[in-house]
Symmetry: C2
Subunit: 248 residues, 2 copies
């Protein structure tokens, strides 16, 4: 590990994680780096526009070049165009809104949504959502052991709606069901009136892709199962395409 390189990204991550700009001392507390070393790095990064300094430069924030560089990730992910095709096939078959998401360490890297032939969007980049309330999060967590899940999640779990599961034991039971039936199902645990089915592409943790479908919460069980089956089928096909193309 090159020390300054590691420190560079640690500083950037610390600045990104803080809601407010940070002074040198606060950064020192968070990173544990000596003041003068920190200062030298800050000057370098400010000059390179990766860090913005307030006028008077007593508080630092993430800079514009970090934004420009980081967003390049979205333009380059080779899985994204393939996911786009998979999404359109799936949407045509089941007629509901479909999503493709990539998670990494509990972050939603992106969420591509396709509502209809013409409406689609990429959103929620980098947001942290409580993993336990989304079908997507459940699909991901189902790839881990109960112990690993317990280490990742708080107890009790956060509740977004009345349907949210807050008890950790109940939640691991739910994950057993996810593993048994091959898809995650969420009914109004995240958003009122919306149910969601999700299937994760089964490769290495912690990063994973997943395809999901959101639908009205009141659909009959057999309809949900039909949709889940379609999501599973298209996710498998998508995974096979990734493998064939040598991606991930």
């Amino acid at each position: 590990m090159v020390k300054s390189a590691e420190r560079t990204v640690r500083i950037l991550e610390a600045l990104a994680a803080s809601p407010e700009r940070l002074t040198l001392s606060e950064l020192q507390k968070r990173t544990g780096f000596p003041r003068s070393s920190l200062h030298a790095l800050m000057r370098t990064l400010v000059e390179l526009k990766w860090i913005e300094a307030d006028t008077g430069s007593s508080a630092y924030g993430i800079g514009p070049h970090a934004l420009l560089t980081g967003t390049a990730y979205l333009d380059k992910d080779p899985a994204l165009p393939l996911a786009h095709d998979a999404l359109e096939d799936l949407r045509e078959e089941i007629g509901h809104t479909v999503h493709f998401a990539r998670r990494d360490d509990g972050h939603v890297l992106y969420l591509a949504t396709r509502e209809s032939r013409d409406r689609h969007a990429i959103s929620r980049v980098g947001r942290r959502l409580p993993a336990s309330v989304t079908a997507l999060g459940q699909a991901l967590l189902a790839q881990l052991t109960d112990d690993e899940v317990a280490a990742l999640l708080p107890d009790p779990l956060p509740a977004l709606t009345e349907q949210s599961i807050t008890d950790l034991t109940k939640f691991t039971d739910e994950l057993d069901q996810v593993r048994a039936r091959g898809y995650a199902l969420e009914r109004e645990q995240g958003t009122p009136g919306v149910a969601c089915v999700a299937v994760a592409v089964d490769y290495r943790i912690p990063a994973t892709d997943a395809i999901s479908c959101s639908m009205p919460a009141g659909l009959p069980q057999e309809e949900i199962e039909r949709i889940a089956e379609a999501v599973i089928r298209h996710t498998r096909k998508f995974a096979a395409t990734l493998r064939r193309e040598g991606i991930r």
Copy 2:
């Protein structure tokens, strides 16, 4: 300048700028760094997830943590909420779609658009648009001298529509008009059927904010002038707010 820190961001920028993933040798050509130094940095950054390595790690691309960190810029810009208010005031007054953009070194950092009370979006992060065909670009360039403009732009200028100005001398004449009347006006030079009026907040180059309004191309001159005056007024008010809050 801390050498490894600078190299770290140069590597990231090189990866971000390339449409494809880069091998070590290609990176070496682009950055000019010695192979073994480069390799040490790459290993560090891959481990930190700021760089993704292909399976077999023979090609590198920008990693997910760069995305997560960079997008934090958007959450933290103190000007953005203020711009949001300014935009809504302006839109209510003139009834057309309004935009707020921040440019830095020829990059559009973000473009916040407000079409109506309920529809708004942030988009086009990091895209490079030919500065000469957008009212926004003209408003920015009008803050420079002719020599500085000539140094920045290619000659002939790129053309997106039939109305685009391609002759550099004609373009600097246009910029004179922008300076004289206090706003940039673009009629179908960027998008057919759309005219655009833009006013830049007048502070240090190269970064600047600007507020603009796009409208149908066929509006009568007096209507355009009325709109331009409103954009100028709201931009001044916005600039005053920024100054009062000590931003920028």
